[in-house]
Symmetry: C2
Subunit: 247 residues, 2 copies
């Protein structure tokens, strides 16, 4: 049985947006902190992984949000390495409030990347064994994203503080560029309920990137489709389902 | 004797820059969290202050940095309301490592602002009494900043996530715009030792602001001077003394 690992976290004012809720990019940073803690605890931290010339790269998140944690709220963040196959590791994250309500579920896909040639490596049993997760042959199909027909675009420049202590643009930052284009009036009146985001290519310090988006309104549904491009290279794409917010 | 209040904090990867050190804007967010905690503890949180139609505004920081906390380091953040006079409250912050070394000292100046007319209010004894700080008649002179002769400039747009749950652009954000202009090569090879920053006018969501800067090199000293302007309005100014970093 894969081991679950839980850490408490208090949501601080600077982790929240103007609605008083934890911001989506900060939510991602916080859950990843918990998987780093678990990895350290079982002796499989980034230093150990680097002894094989490898590093973890997150290629997909699927986030289901019942309710975003609020400013000053105490939450419990739980993670579990669910399963793996030849190339992919599947890890789940849950955020609960202190009453045990599930606020957020995040299903993520990790791969191991060779630090030298930047190519995907096979999953090494010695790296994943202590997490107690099962090897399965089945590969989860990744979601197809709808095409954009008339996208709008806003440019961003990758700034110094977009790079974190892992010396890469923090994955959460891509969400920041995707959300910002939607504007204040939209963001304070809508809550994201489901977010699927796929990371394909990295962007680097100084890059001028483009954040494309388009709204797709169906019967009682509202979805936004997003792409981050670096010139003609598609770097990240996402799909977000929204509910109207009663604030 | 003014009461000291200490909170522990662990420095996470997403709070650090690419040098593996806590970023300067994040340092400010973290120390302010501690003063908010103390205020709540003594029954003088923002809700209480709002019952007088007032809110706290920070108008100056003077930061002295011996060593920036590092990624995964446990630190202790201490705050103390030092003294006040008719209009100004002086509050100190210290960051120590677990061996008791003083890493950072921050001296700050707060004022109370009327929420309706946005004007400065007199300091009310009932708001500051529980902190145990003394009233003094002396007003601390604020530092004069050197003039810029040939400033460089980079524009920034105030983004949605620059606004925190206090519904204002987080003070730390101004430092972000000031630092970013210095560029990667400068920032990874220099450590800020003293930072004086004065907040004058707020910027708002959607504003296009300009971050001006100039280097002043003396005998063995390197200082950068900064201004954030919104059109012709000076909003924030700062002066940063730098040391070469041996990394």
């Amino acid at each position: 049985m894969p081991k679950k690992f839980t850490e408490p976290h208090t949501v601080w004012y600077y982790e929240c947006d103007t609605t008083g809720q934890l911001s989506i990019p900060m939510l991602l940073s916080i859950v990843i902190k918990t998987s780093e803690s678990q990895s350290e605890k079982v002796g499989r931290g980034s230093d150990y992984v680097a002894t094989f010339g490898l590093t973890w790269v997150i290629i997909q998140y699927e986030m289901h949000i019942n309710r975003m944690p609020k400013v000053n709220e105490q939450i419990l963040v739980t993670t579990q390495a669910a399963s793996y196959n030849k190339f992919f590791c599947y890890r789940n994250f849950w955020v609960h409030d202190l009453q045990g309500n599930e606020l957020v579920l995040i299903q993520s896909t990790f791969v191991l990347m060779d630090l030298k040639n930047r190519k995907m490596s096979r999953v090494l049993p010695e790296i994943v064994a202590p997490f107690g997760c099962e090897k399965r042959t089945k590969i989860q199909r990744s979601k197809k994203f709808e095409e954009m027909t008339q996208p709008k675009m806003q440019p961003y420049r990758v700034r110094y503080l977009d790079i974190d202590s892992n010396s890469h643009v923090n994955n959460a930052k891509y969400l920041d560029w995707m959300l910002d284009v939607l504007g204040y009036d939209f963001l304070v009146t809508h809550d994201a309920k489901t977010i699927i985001v796929k990371f394909d290519k990295e962007v680097e310090y100084g890059n001028q990137i483009q954040s494309y988006w388009e709204e797709k309104a169906g019967e009682g549904t509202l979805t936004t489709i997003h792409q981050i491009k670096n010139g003609t290279t598609l770097c990240t794409e996402a799909m977000i389902d929204w509910d109207s917010a009663s604030r």
